[in-house]
């Protein structure tokens, strides 16, 4: 699938862009394999944020002075940058949020209020992050709609036949993760959207993990909503994106009230601003948006197809190394998979694994990864999860494997 003419990544040179990757922790060189939780930031992003606060800091949209004009230009430039990154038709389809979680909450609250009624159905998948479950439970509680869940198989793949059978004229919305944070499964987003549209339902795709690992084109997907977080794509925390189709966003009521989201206010009558401002009440995270734009420049400079090719190689190598460890069971073995190595050991609980390999400087995540239904599905209380980014190396995966061998030794 990936073309051979892509020039390979010069990982060692790219790593120089990330100051934190040079750190020593617990007396060992840092091996950062917790990228599904958050990614590290290149100097270019750190500089963009620092430059904004040193040179441009001002409030956006309402000022007539020079700095406010510059801040507004940069903030709205960031919006256009995101639109281009997702191949949205227009920049006004990009709403800045605090992150993926807030973007989903916005859609669940606003779309839910407008379109969900008693007897309607919302379909999720069994592999969703809590942030793509709880807002829909709240929207269903408020509207009387019913939540339905598409199950997954033992490999961690969606059962598409069951999804087809679940769709019906009462289905109003389907919310599905693009790339699972707990399993690494890449879901067939285009097929999910096509099937849902045929049933007359709208679709929200949670792209929190996907955007830093594979190219995303919301128009090619025909997604109604697509959401992601800045900090998982080498940008700052506290900034995220909701993409929504114009007609949908225009038909939906505001999520929060306040400044910037209004056209005029009186005690008798308030009229709302146009999109995207209708959904951005209050002073936004201006520096975050600018930092995110710098991160997207950086990622596209490296090239998402080259990133995907390198990470595929890392995933295959890591899978091979881990499968050779006695008593290790991989959780999530989908055919279409990226970046995540979730596992349990016979000898030790994930929490113990995390502590022991941390003493070797290896950072991974242990726990339920905010996906408790996935843990129940696989009958484990928690997993240990190593997750790669393009700046990881084969040698780092060898350090991981050797650290896991040490766990086995300690607990033998």
């Amino acid at each position: 699938m990936l073309t051979a003419e892509l020039a390979p990544l010069d990982v060692e040179t790219l790593r120089q862009d990330f100051p934190i990757l040079g750190r020593v922790v617990r007396g060992k060189p840092l091996v950062y394999l917790d990228n599904a939780a958050t990614t590290q930031k290149p100097q270019q992003v750190i500089d963009a944020i620092s430059r904004y606060y040193s040179e441009t800091n001002s409030n956006v949209h309402r000022g007539v002075h020079y700095l406010s004009e510059q801040a507004t230009l940069q903030y709205e430039g960031a919006r256009r940058r995101v639109a281009k990154f997702l191949n949205a038709e227009s920049a006004h389809e990009i709403i800045f949020t605090r992150g993926t979680t807030e973007a989903i909450n916005l859609v669940a609250a606003s779309f839910g209020r407008k379109f969900l009624r008693e007897g309607d159905e919302v379909i999720l998948t069994e592999m969703e992050h809590h942030s793509n479950i709880v807002p829909w439970q709240m929207a269903c509680d408020a509207s009387g709609a019913t939540l339905r869940v598409v199950p997954i198989n033992d490999e961690g793949e969606l059962l598409m036949d069951q999804f087809r059978q679940m769709l019906n004229p009462r289905t109003k919305l389907v919310a599905a993760v693009h790339l699972s944070n707990a399993l690494g499964t890449i879901n067939p987003a285009a097929e999910i959207i096509e099937l849902a549209h045929a049933a007359g339902a709208r679709v929200l795709i949670d792209g929190a993990q996907a955007v830093s690992h594979l190219p995303v084109d919301v128009r090619a997907l025909d997604a109604d909503f697509y959401v992601f977080s800045g900090h998982k794509i080498f940008g700052p925390t506290g900034i995220g994106v909701l993409y929504g189709k114009t007609e949908l966003l225009e038909s939906m009521p505001p999520y929060q009230g306040g400044g910037d989201m209004i056209r005029s206010v009186s005690f008798q009558r308030t009229t709302y601003n146009d999109i995207p401002y209708k959904f951005e009440a209050g002073t936004p995270h201006i520096a975050g948006a600018i930092g995110l734009a710098a991160a997207l420049d950086y990622v596209e400079g490296v090239g998402l197809e080259r990133i995907a090719a390198w990470e595929h190689e890392l995933l295959e190598y890591g899978t091979e190394l881990l499968q050779n460890i006695p008593g290790l069971r991989l959780i999530g073995t989908a055919r279409q998979k990226s970046s995540v190595l979730s596992f349990v050991l016979e000898s030790a609980h994930p929490h113990d694994i995390g502590t022991i390999i941390d003493s070797q400087g290896v950072a991974i995540r242990t726990g339920h990864h905010c996906a408790e239904p996935v843990m129940h599905r696989f009958g484990v209380p928690a997993t240990a999860r190593a997750s790669v980014a393009f700046y990881n190396t084969r040698q780092e995966l060898e350090v991981l494997a050797s650290a896991i061998h040490n766990v086995n030794q300690l607990f033998s």
């Binding site: 030790a348 609980h349 994930p350 929490h351 113990d352 502590t355 022991i356 003493s359 242990t366 726990g367 339920h368 843990m375 209380p381 928690a382 300690l410 607990f411």
Partner: protein
């Protein structure tokens, strides 16, 4: 690996492999669940009280080595103790696992098996693992009906 060996001492590894009193008590006076939502550790503590005496104590459930060994050592220590003695051991354990005052070698020796949990002090993220079962037992003796949660 030095700090790590302080945390995963042989006694802890042994109690993790072969937990003592790892069973239900039918007709227990107190049955209470303890849960650490952060890592999913979940134990039920059973207490059989005869007036003032902990006649029997046991636990079931699952979690990491630190939490399981801590629950196991606790049940082994408390059987036959009075409420007041159990409460005193709880306080002592709490000091060992979470305190800041340095512990000398002589003191470590006098603490017996409790001393092995001094290692968790160096691992702030793991303190809750060590204290889960003890907090649950403590709540049980205090007559609280809600289980302990370390969050």
């Amino acid at each position: 690996m030095n700090d790590l060996r302080d945390l995963y001492q042989e006694i802890i590894l042994d109690h993790n492999r072969n937990p003592r009193n790892f069973r239900k008590i039918e007709g227990a006076t107190v049955t209470l669940e303890g849960h650490n939502p952060l890592c999913g550790d979940r134990y039920t503590i059973y207490l059989l009280l005869d007036d003032d005496i902990v006649k029997d104590i046991s636990f079931t459930g699952a979690g990491c080595a630190i939490s399981k060994a801590s629950a196991s050592v606790m049940t082994a220590m408390l059987k036959g103790k009075t409420r007041a003695e159990a409460e005193a051991l709880f306080q002592q354990f709490h000091e060992v696992a979470t305190g800041h005052a340095p512990i000398g070698n002589a003191q470590l020796e006098s603490l017996g098996k409790l001393g092995v949990f001094a290692g968790v002090r160096e691992f702030p993220m793991r303190v809750k693992c060590a204290t889960l079962a003890w907090h649950t037992m403590h709540n049980g003796l205090e007559g609280k009906h809600e289980g302990a949660t370390t969050e």
